[in-house]
């Protein structure tokens, strides 16, 4: 093999060896991808389902959340850059809850993305942070895996809590925060509040739409 290769110029040799290795490992990767991809897709779908279940709590529904959603164009409340999705949970064709994806562009680092489950009468059933890049061990307390902070939103609605109270205690609001990571809490609170405002403004569209 080596003597065979030495007949070629260094360029030819490079091309030959790199192509062989490239093809060899690319096919290895392809085989592995085929094996692991179904498992990954399944666990991702399950994780999403679990999350949706968490934010709509015990509300009973009989439709498929995966396929029943409304497209939400970019707007000032949810701060989505592309068309987003609002999942609608129905029971016997009546809307029980809506799950909105709200974005906080004003966190400490990068966007914080939250799912907010709102019942048809405008009350928060549950909320979860689905994606964030806040400082580990500091700003990540908004994540349910790290602390119960996010549960404070449960059961709140706009009529009981006026806009001014949707702030951290430091800003004369009602919400706790962790010293040294106030910006994170501010961003998340604003995003949840915005989801409620969006719901209020678009209630007609969200709740009264018919089954697709």
């Amino acid at each position: 093999m080596t003597s065979f290769l030495k007949k070629y110029s260094i360029v030819g040799q490079t091309i030959l060896v790199m192509s062989i290795f490239g093809m060899l490992f690319a096919s290895l990767l392809a085989i592995f991808f085929e094996f692991s991809n179904p498992v990954i897709l399944k666990s991702e779908a399950e994780a999403k389902q679990r999350l949706l279940l968490q934010v709509i709590g015990g509300k009973e529904y009989d439709n498929n959340l995966d396929t029943d959603f409304i497209d939400i164009p970019p707007n000032v409340y949810l701060k989505n850059k592309k068309n987003g999705k609002a999942y609608v949970a129905r029971y016997q064709n009546k809307v029980r809850a809506v799950v909105l994806e709200s974005r906080a562009p004003d966190g400490y680092s990068g966007d914080i993305i939250l799912l907010v489950g709102i019942s048809s009468d405008g009350e928060i059933i549950g909320s979860r942070v689905v994606k964030h890049q806040e400082t580990p061990g500091l700003g990540d307390y908004i994540d349910i895996e790290k602390s119960n902070w996010i549960l404070a939103f449960q059961g709140l609605n706009l009529s009981d809590k006026p806009s001014a109270r949707w702030a951290v205690k430091k800003d004369r609001g009602d919400f706790d925060y962790m010293a040294g990571a106030t910006i994170t809490a501010r961003g998340a609170i604003k995003a949840v509040h915005n989801a409620l405002l969006f719901f209020k403004e678009n209630k007609a569209q969200l709740v009264l739409t018919n089954v697709k």
Partner: protein, 208 residues
Amino acid sequence: MLSKSINDGLWKQNPGVIQLLGLCPTLAVTTTVVNGVSLGIATMLVMVASNGSIAPIRRWIPEEIRVPVFILVVAALVTIIDLSIHAFAEPLYKALGIFIPLIVTNCIVLARVESFASKNSTLPSLYDGFFMGLGLCIVLAILGAMREILGKGSLFSGFDLIFGESWKIVSIQFFDSTHGFLLALLPPGAFLGLALLIALTNYINQKK
């Protein structure tokens, strides 16, 4: 051969505190023991696999283009490990995130392939990959423990997220996390912690 590999990997040529290679993950993920150990194990797997696959084919890799070939092999192996962790250990995948693909750029992996596996036969190369990886893993665990105790007041927290609920009992809480020493969790804390470990290693080596 085996005892030399053990001695080099765990102490004399320890990647974490002597060779000081692959510092980015060392410093970035070691906020808790479980994060440090997980990345350590992932890196160890990559090192064993890359050393073990380069050594048997080293004769067919032309000297001039060995580094691109090494990178190709390492990248493929890391992708395979990344996919398997994503498929079969999702909580671990979530905890480590971007740092698994970044193992490709970890100099310690390429360094061992270049300086050991490309010159030695398969079995010693496997040993070398394993013990170098283990040496790094231990440093990551110690650094993680230091930062976790100081910063969060806990030790071994989060094991249950990766190995299942029953592992919750290994978690120890020394004091409430709100009284933690924040600096220990921030990047400067990682540098200070590593500096202390290096100082300790040098002190022990000088004493000998």
